[in-house]
Each structure stands twice: as structure tokens, then as C-alpha cells.
Symmetry: C2
Subunit: 354 residues, 2 copies
């Protein structure tokens, strides 16, 4: 199946399969362990079965990590101590294999694709770098729309295209990641708008800011949020206060879902993308696994809103996909349990007295 646009992806997402989830429950109860003793690992296996529409589900591998990079005009408002040039520098670091996401991806055998969906600066060509630049950074979301609706849709399409390309190349588990100085400000605004939470409760310290800058950042988020009416849809929110990497992440998730491939959600920026994806195509939710609980309060707000329980909780706040890729072995283990464990009958183990 070839999907070219986010609208095609949206229309292509079908609900996960409840019968396969029930088959996983039944199988889990026959495996050589007390019922329920593998806790969340059983629940993840159940969900993978529903996504794959069969039980046991295949082990979701190989894994492709897709890191979307973009810049944010709101950095002009002093919401981060990091200069904008760091976005391009870190993307160069990704391409050279020296960043955290590279190291963690090597640990789990995942490949890394880096996508320029909206960086302000430029970089030489690199094999890992996909050039899909929609615009050279968003406009300052504190002063007006971050981007046009057409740009938001084009960035969604980029994410869909990256998902389809990765799956065509063999990926059976996608991990979304982000890089963009200033992007936790945009993510907080998107999360506030799409969950209805107060801006101050979903604005965090991002890469590490002090109390004064945090209060200022929350005020910027609140101001941007106030321009959105109660009837604003996910596309309106994305264009008005979002980011190009947030849009692309939403597209990646819808694309993965449309192709029946699980997508691991990372931190607060990915969570903002997930809210957009689920807003546009609600059945996408069935294909999302929350990799971790970021320390950013907006991430927890978004996960709670979607009813997703994170696999890990390690006080991470880096983005790039790092928390999600750390969760990959647990997700793969969940599928293996259903596929490889012996049953009481097959192993000749006595079940407990009922």
C-alpha cells in the first residue's frame, strides 16, 4: 500500500483487532506462569496482537528511529538558554553518530533516519539526512500563527511519507523523535489546547531553565493558547501554535497506524504530535505505545488524556526519541513471550488449584 498524503493515512487507519487481543488474553492464561504475573508485559503483548491482527504477534523488528528536526521563531522571546544554531549542530551530531539517540539505537539494533522538516540553518548532505524542509523555522508563535494551514499539512505529509518509506524498507516498529531548540514551548501550547489543561500546568523546564524563565515561558504559552477558540481543531492548533516537527511526528504516527505498524511515542514533543494524530484520526491511538514518562508535565498530561501508560519512567527530558528507543526491548519482549513461551500443557507443568 502506498500512502502519499496525511488525508490518505487518516482514511487508511482501521481500528485494531479486538479478537486478536482476546486471543492474547487466552494464550497468556495458558503460558507457564501465574495468570497476570507479567503485568504490563502481558498488556503490551495484548496490544501488539491487536495491532498485528494475529496472536502471537510478530516480534516488531527491525526498528527505525525517525528524528524530525525543526526550528521555532518563538526562541526570539527568550524561552530557552540554547541558541537556535544548536538545532543544526545537533543534527550534524546525529548524522555523525555521536548523539544519545545514536548510542541508544545501536544498543537495540535500530537504524536512525534524520529528517529536516523545518530547520532554519543548512547542512551538507549526509546519507542519514532526509531533506524535507517545509520552511526555515516557524514564525514566532507568540505574535501570530506559527505557520500556515498549508505548511502544517505539508509537514504532516512529510511524516506520513517517512513512515511509508521506512516500512517499505522493512521497518516493523517505528520510533518518533524530535530536535528543535524551543520546541517544548510549542509542544506545551499544543498540549494545552488539545487537552484543555491550563497552560501553566503543562509548561515545563524543557532542557533546563530557571524559575524566572519558566514563568516567562508559561506566559508565552498562555498568550499563544488564548488566540485559539474553543472550537479549534487539531489542524488549527498545529498551525497556530505548533511546530513543523510536531506535525511530522503526527504524520509518522498516522502513517504507521495506516500500515498496521506500531509507533513508539517519546517525550513531550512526541506526545504533542500524538495528540494531533489522534485528533485527526482517532484509531491511530491503538497503534501507539508510550515509551516513557518524561519529566515534562505536558507529557504526562497528554498521556493521561490519551489513556496511554508509559513503559519506562526514568526521569528523562532529552527528546530525540531517546526514551522511546530505550523501551524497544520491553516491547519486543512482550511479543516474544506470546510467541515463544511454553504452555502448561506443552511443558507438563501442573496448573494451580482453581
Amino acid at each position: 500500500m502506498t500512502i502519499l498524503t496525511w488525508a490518505e493515512a487518516r482514511d487508511g487507519v482501521v481500528p485494531v483487532d479486538a479478537a486478536s487481543a482476546r486471543a492474547a488474553d487466552e494464550l497468556n492464561d495458558r503460558l507457564t506462569k501465574p495468570r497476570g504475573a507479567l503485568g504490563q508485559v502481558e498488556e503490551i503483548g495484548r496490544r501488539l496482537s491487536a495491532m498485528a491482527r494475529r496472536c502471537p504477534p510478530p516480534v516488531p523488528e527491525p526498528v527505525t528511529v525517525c528524528v524530525f528536526a525543526a526550528d521555532h521563531g518563538v526562541v526570539a522571546r527568550g524561552v530557552t538558554p540554547w541558541p537556535q544554531e544548536v538545532t543544526v549542530q545537533m543534527v550534524a551530531n546525529f548524522c555523525a553518530g555521536g548523539a544519545a539517540i545514536n548510542v541508544l539505537s545501536r544498543q537495540v539494533g535500530a537504524s536512525v533516519t534524520v529528517v529536516d522538516v523545518g530547520m532554519a540553518g543548512d547542512l551538507p548532505d549526509a546519507p542519514e539526512l532526509l531533506r524535507r524542509n517545509i520552511r526555515r523555522g516557524t514564525a514566532d508563535l507568540s505574535r501570530g500563527p506559527a505557520m500556515t494551514a498549508a505548511e502544517a499539512e505539508a509537514a504532516l505529509d512529510v511524516g506520513v511519507g517517512v513512515a511509508c518509506g521506512a516500512v517499505r524498507d522493512g521497518a516493523r516498529l517505528l520510533v518518533g523523535g524530535d530536535m528543535g531548540i524551543g520546541n517544548t514551548t510549542a509542544a506545551a501550547a499544543v498540549i494545552s489546547a488539545l487537552t484543555g489543561r491550563d497552560p501553566a500546568t503543562v509548561t515545563g523546564r524543557g532542557t533546563g531553565i530557571d524559575d524566572v524563565m519558566l514563568a516567562h515561558k508559561a506566559a508565552v504559552v498562555a498568550g499563544a493558547r488564548s488566540r485559539l477558540g474553543a472550537g479549534s481543531g487539531p489542524l488549527d492548533v498545529l498551525a497556530e501554535v505548533g511546530g513543523l516537527e510536531i506535525a511530522a511526528l503526527a504524520g509518522l504516527m498516522m502513517g504507521g497506524a495506516a500500515l498496521g505498524v506500531p509507533v513508539l511515542v517519546d517525550g513531550v514533543v512526541s506526545c504533542a504530535g500524538a495528540l494531533v494524530a489522534v485528533g485527526l484520526a482517532p484509531d491511530t491511538l491503538g497503534y501507539l505505545v508510550a515509551g516513557h514518562r518524561s519529566v515534562e508535565p505536558g507529557a504526562s498530561a497528554a498521556l493521561e488524556h490519551m489513556g496511554l501508560r508509559p513503559v519506562l519512567d526514568l526521569d528523562l527530558r532529552l527528546g530525540e526519541g531517546t526514551g522511546a528507543v530505550l523501551a524497544v526491548p520491553v516491547v519486543q519482549s512482550a511479543a516474544r513471550i506470546l510467541g515463544e513461551m511454553a504452555t502448561f500443557d506443552s511443558a507438563g507443568v501442573t496448573d494451580k488449584d482453581q
Copy 2:
């Protein structure tokens, strides 16, 4: 170094190296990420550096999972719905590769060694099975001592010997696991005695028991615990209310620590072993990493007592080493981060405004 007895292991454990921990802190602050942004992953890397006495520490691999199996006379008191024969049957399942611990070990490339340190039943030979039977199950700990002091020491020696054998064969990360119908009763008694907590607060449902059986189990634990005076040491506790696999797990941890090899702690039975090990040789604590937080209340009590924060929290209650082996990739990732990430200088990335 060859260590033959638990006393030699105890005397061989040296404190982890604070200078290497400081070197890890300094390196972490120069890596291309905001300071502290990898949260617990940085903390684990710091601890691995201290254990290895160098920074960056080596990636702790290969991994050997050592599952100690033993039976418990207290099953005669009706503290579990599972018949005692299941211990032997599950060990056969381990040897055949069909249990959860086998599946999860394959996911992370770990080998599994199964040690009969005190099963009541017998099994044919198998390549994975080490025969180190001290006695055919403990005596009923509700009526009197579970074992003699000499037996407890012999079981400690078994664990030390298994650790040394695994490290001699190349292991650089050890995972302790357990199998023994009834062993959460013994673990609760050990944890109550060594943490000072009320027996009722550390007794859990084990593999899954109802409220009536839980109340009875807690009463059995309280009765056994009441025989121990305030001055009881770890060896007294082990012999009076412990288990042969709990002793062997304590030996494994002391042996690993004496050889400078990290040991991952699993659920409530492993936590009981860890309390014994740390009681006998306090510096062992520096070499222990808590793999996960079991749903068994005694596990949390023990971890809190030792000041260990678990890597995972997935509602597991299976034992066998399953929760610990699931944490292996996170632990290995922590070492890789220090060894492989670029620094701000090396990658040409601008650090934030200070």
C-alpha cells in the same frame, strides 16, 4: 581470583570507587545533551563507573542469568495454591527453554544457568542444570528453623561458586533469579526480620492468592518472625526463616561484588537475598542494581531499606529473574552513553548560556 566460600567473598568485597563516579559526573556534563537530561540513565552510568573503577565503564556484557531453585517445607501450611511438584516441573521448563526467563534472556542475548540448590524432587541431567543440592527442601519454617546454620552457609557458598564460575566463563553482568513454590513466604519473613517492618506490611499475594490465604500467610510469616530476637544477624535470619535459594542469591551477589561485577536484583525473593548479602558484606550494595519494582510489597520495603531505585516498574510478580533481565538493555545503555556519546567540544555543538 578464585573465591571458594562466602566468607572469602565477604572479605573480598571492596567499596566501589568514588573517584570514578565523580569522573562520570564530569563526563556526563560534557556530553551533547542538557545536563541531567538522561535522568536515571546517567545515575546508572555513574554507578557502573564506580563498580568498574573507571570511566567510561565497559558495557556490561555478556550476561548470565543464574536461577536458583529450592523447595519450602512451609508449603504444608497452605500458603500457596501451587503444588510443590511445580518447582521441579518449572526447572525442567527452564532447561527446555520454554519459560519466561528463557524467552526474555534470548531477547537480550543472555545465557541461563539453572541451579538446584534445594529442590525436593529430582530431574534428569541437562546441560543448563547445575546440581548443588544442599537438602531436599527446607523444613517447615512455621514450626522451627528452616535449615541449620551449616546448611545456610553451604547454600551461600553455592551462590558464590556460581558467580565465580560465570565470571570465569566470561560473564560481566550477573542476573539473579529464583524458582521455588512457597518462597515468597520465606522472603517476606526474611525481609520483615532484616528491615524491621511489620510482617503484614511485607507479605504479598505471591503468585496470586485470595484474601483468606493472604491473611493466613501473613500470620505464618508473623509467627516465624516472632522466634527471631532483636539481635538476630543475617545468618540467623537466613537459617531460621529463609530459603536455600535466598541464601544462594545472597552468595551470588557477594561473589559478583567481590569480583567487581554488577549484579541485577529481581523481585521479592532476590530482594530478600540482597538484604542478607548487604547484611553480611555491606559494600556489596554498591554493586547491586535493582532491575524492577515487583508488585510484592516486601520488594519495595527491601529496596527502600537499601536505598535502591528500581529501573523498571511494570507490575511484574513472576520471579525467575524476569524483571531484572528486562532491565539489562537500560543498564548496558547507561554504560554506552558514557563510552560512545560525543562531547560538546568534539561535536562542535554550542553549550547553553550559563
